[in-house]
Amino acid sequence: MKEDLMDIICCPLDKHDLDLEVDERDDGEILSGTLVCTECGESYPIEDGIPNLLPPDMRDEAPA
């Protein structure tokens, strides 16, 4: 994802802003990192360039 996406994405749960923590960047593209909700503290991974902003109960690793 590009950093300007931060202007429009938000926490899917409470719709508050997200903080961006970048782990890996390539040319203007953020390849991996974490998005953390400034309100509830839930964190969302950026995986291979695409942010995973599914509610936590819909993530693959969530218990069924």
């Binding site: 996406l5 429009i8 899917p12 749960l13 719709k15 695409i50 819909m58």
Partner: protein, 211 residues
């Protein structure tokens, strides 16, 4: 609740590759809707699947966001839109859209609403669409309809429609088939203002806006 929506996501995770190969072209209804839109800032494809409508939106919007629950489908969309720097992809749920309020000027929400397993969730996703649309922003919503030739019912109903993979494996997909009246009722109950509703090629379509 979460489990049901996960199961739709998992279905598309499994069939993404084959599904994508059968969804090459934009639907004419979507091209028609978008061609009436003046140039805008942000376009959204909610339930973008393999991204076949992203470049249609990119024709009228400075930047386009494609949201889908299935990561394998987003990977297909990324491949398809690799040459378009104005397209961004986000993994997300149509009933909990991860976009801030009033950020979207034009949206398409095509053949996705009918995959949400409960009426409550379907109505919530329409409210979410209303939340993210900017005042005066416009959206096209479609869902599979009882008017389609393959159905006899006149009332909306839940069903599963099998997807057969090339190797013969059959993957069931949840659908709620909408009667036109129920489609209108769900839209009317939401925060969206309905401009027009019609049935085309067995799908219900609505053009909507927010005040």
């Amino acid at each position: 609740m979460g489990d049901d929506r996960r199961s739709v996501k998992e279905t598309y995770d499994r069939i993404a590759d084959h599904f994508s190969k059968t969804r090459e072209y934009p639907w004419p209804e979507i091209e028609g809707f978008v061609s009436d839109v003046d140039d805008v800032g942000v376009g959204l494809d909610l339930g973008c699947g393999n991204g076949r409508h992203l470049s249609v939106l990119a024709g009228v919007a400075d930047r386009v966001v494609g949201v889908d629950a299935s990561r394998p489908l987003l990977d297909e969309a990324r491949e398809r839109t690799a040459s378009d720097p104005d397209v961004a992809l986000v993994q997300g749920d149509a009933a909990s859209i991860p976009l801030a309020a009033s950020t979207v000027d034009v949206a398409v929400y095509i053949a996705t609403l009918h995959h949400l397993p409960e009426r409550k969730m379907r109505r919530r996703s329409l409210d979410e669409l209303a939340r993210v649309l900017s005042p005066g922003g416009r959206a096209l919503v479609s869902a599979w309809s009882t008017e389609h030739d393959r159905f006899d019912a006149t009332e909306g109903f839940d069903t599963t429609v099998d997807w057969t993979l090339p190797g013969g494996e059959v993957v069931p997909r949840f659908y709620h088939i909408y009667s036109p009246a129920e489609f209108e009722a769900d839209l009317d109950a939401s925060g969206l203002a309905v401009e027009s509703v019609r049935v085309s090629s067995g799908n219900c379509y609505a053009e909507v806006t927010v005040d």
